[in-house]
Homo-oligomer: 318 residues x 3
């Protein structure tokens, strides 16, 4: 069942950030914090004991796969792990996507689905008779748990998601995580986001107009436009595959590299430095050891915690 | 140890339906029903706690793999999952099949084997020193747990496997599940099976003669020969790969499509509509919602239950 | 943290046999024996309950993968299993090896790493912030747990690793397991090793000089040089890929085949017949049933036991 969560996660498909109200996020984040404690205790949790979750990944994704697998097992649940089912016999023989979903719902209590095609998660939710579908990303569409972990990481630090000043850098036009984050932040008041990107990768005019109703958006394309003491820096990768014109890519790809020098000049004492990963060269390795940089630390672990909380809530176990 | 089960499953290799007597099926199905209850309770079973089962799949098979994986985990057991070992280093370096079997028997309490070559399951059973082999299908040979789940699905509905009227449709010549089912039904009395297929896909004359000794077989090739109120309809896919002659395939492939109209005209109030899956287009989607159609519901879940029972019995835990 | 173990395994990376002193081996083997008992009891162990171990295999290896997977699950732990991450999206997009390691350390309590490149295990240990790395082999470099299981198998039989007489046969020049074993044996006194190989596959002069300081090495190239009643025979495969010159390979490949006749002529009543596997044709199948031949029996299982002990010690659970 897709639809607004409205305070009740049990049995809900998790397809889009749009299903979450600020109150739903509060519930989820409350449990996420608890999960952090559960994961750090030595004793094994039994919260998902007796539950089986299918990880149905139509494209491999080591981080998201590992994070969901760990989340389930941290809670004492079990997994059925199917990677690239399209190469498996049934699907290769011409079985429909809907039939495949219905096979795996027969074996498990929920299906975590990763698929390269936009809309697949919704299609799976429509096909499933009995169990909820949790999207682990559908192509250039949504990746709700990535957005939730980003929001939680910010919330964990500042205890709020309003009245914050952000710097987003890199690919603002195509970056899926950037769009999800904007959607999440637009649920809250008085946020300002500086968008640092080359002209070719600015937010679409339609999105600019849409999000400007909720967020104060400031487009910049030069380092000197970076605000001092933003609460959050969110860096992203510029993807080669977005450029038909190779020389254009070469021109912009190294335009906004996050260096210790940049951090020293513009970041504040409490600025959270985030990146959705994978990181290629857009953040210099020397930044990794900065305690404000969380992309290789709490941001990854928070992905596991938020997925633990989501699974526990959807399966009605917490 | 391959051989007749004779009421004692412990340590037996499960290679063929021929190992089962009616009494063995009764024992298995008695436990299968119990497994259904165990799987539907919220608390975790410990029946296979401490047991490790290797899933050694020389060809991927999402349904059978998922079903065995779920069956083991439903009972609190653990798996070692090896898909396509022939691409793994040891086997690629020239290790014999027998040595591979003996490596995995060292790690686990039983090996569930899927292999594309007929006879592999027997070969594995001969190679294993210590642990039983459970076949998950060997090519065009046998797939005993598929046959068992089909028989159980019928048994669950009618509480008997004798005195039943069947309609089998599609590929009667090559269909592995059809042959297994005939073999299973021939253990019981007074069964009648209508075989609906194009002339090119009729049962071989040898098989017709053999099974006719036990079952009343009626060959038909037109819809109008379909009996009214059969107890079970078992539909199958016509496989392109069976036809050297492409135009012949195109001629027969859509000859027997299961439609709501056909159901309304010939099926009875209690007719069980089955299909071994994957289904391509030989059953129209509109039939899926008919409560008599179990191929996307209990038939799949019964596969998990019957495998749970079989594992529990072979490992001596129930 | 790589470095000498010095009696304390907790949190240590396990990269090389050089980290182990005779006393460390004694501790490990003491626990390995206990693990053997744990694995053979019917009840499930909880020693690694609540622990998650990532199996990060950059090349598939059915035996080592299966052995680690079984070891973890025998102790009640859970796994995140990632095979060929280089084909997964993040790594394919250009993520560094170090970042990948740091992602998986966020999800798990230790990472078992298999990688085709020499030095990768050390590189992973350097990259990991929080969790120990256990090497499952890095290319033609080290494979410490293989060496440990070989040493344990000898220790289990003779209750000592000194004052033993060995016969090593096959590829003495390139064979990784042979080198590891020589390194292990050189920690102990009064060992003698007969090295049976074709001239082209003799130990390098440098290694000969180095190991001769600790072990009495005797090079032979004819069957008649084989000593009577050696304590251990360690046979290895001659790898085709080592020979640029194909005719040279054909000349030597079948030079030292272990046959029942050879066993009868030279082996003693208590000679342990070992092979690291995979075995191609260098040991005749008729030798398999000889009770002195342990390569398809205790040698494989000991791999699981020694990995159980190592994991328990590194994770501080035993």
């Amino acid at each position: 069942m897709v639809g607004k969560i409205n305070g009740n996660f049990i049995g809900k498909d998790i397809i889009s950030l749009d299903q979450f109200s600020p109150k739903d996020l509060k519930i989820l984040f409350h449990h996420t914090l608890k999960m952090k404690k559960i994961a750090s205790t030595a004793s094994a949790s039994k919260i998902l004991s007796g539950n089986i979750v299918t990880l149905l990944f139509y494209e491999p994704s080591s981080r998201t796969f590992g994070s969901f697998s760990a989340a389930i097992k941290q809670l004492g649940g079990q997994t059925i792990e199917i990677i690239n089912p399209q190469k498996f016999s049934s699907v290769a023989k011409g079985e429909t996507f809907e039939d495949t979903i219905r096979v795996f719902e027969a074996y498990s209590d929920t299906i975590v689905l990763r698929h390269p095609q936009v809309g697949s998660a919704q299609k799976a939710a429509d096909a499933a008779f009995f169990v909820p579908i949790i999207s682990a990303g559908d192509g250039i569409g949504e990746h709700p748990t990535q957005a939730l972990l980003d929001l939680y990481t910010i919330y964990e630090k500042f205890k709020r998601l309003d009245n914050l000043k952000f710097l987003f850098a890199g690919d603002i036009l195509y970056g899926r995580t950037v769009h999800s984050l904007l959607r999440g932040l637009s649920l809250f008041k008085n946020n300002a986001v500086f968008l640092l990107s080359p002209k070719q990768l600015k937010l679409s005019r339609k999105d600019l107009e849409y999000f400007s109703k909720k967020i104060n958006l400031i487009e910049i394309d030069k380092e000197k436009g970076v605000p001092k003491n933003a609460d959050v820096w969110y860096w992203t990768r510029i993807q080669k595959e977005r450029f038909g014109n190779k020389s254009l890519y070469l021109k912009v790809k190294n335009k906004y590299i996050l260096t210790p020098k940049l951090v020293n000049k513009y970041a504040g004492r409490n600025t959270l430095i985030m990146h959705p990963l994978p990181r290629i060269n857009e953040i210099e390795k020397d930044v990794d050891d900065d305690p404000r940089a969380v992309y290789l630390r709490s941001q990854i672990r928070n992905g596991m915690y938020v997925r633990m909380a989501l699974l526990g809530l959807v399966l009605g176990k917490i």
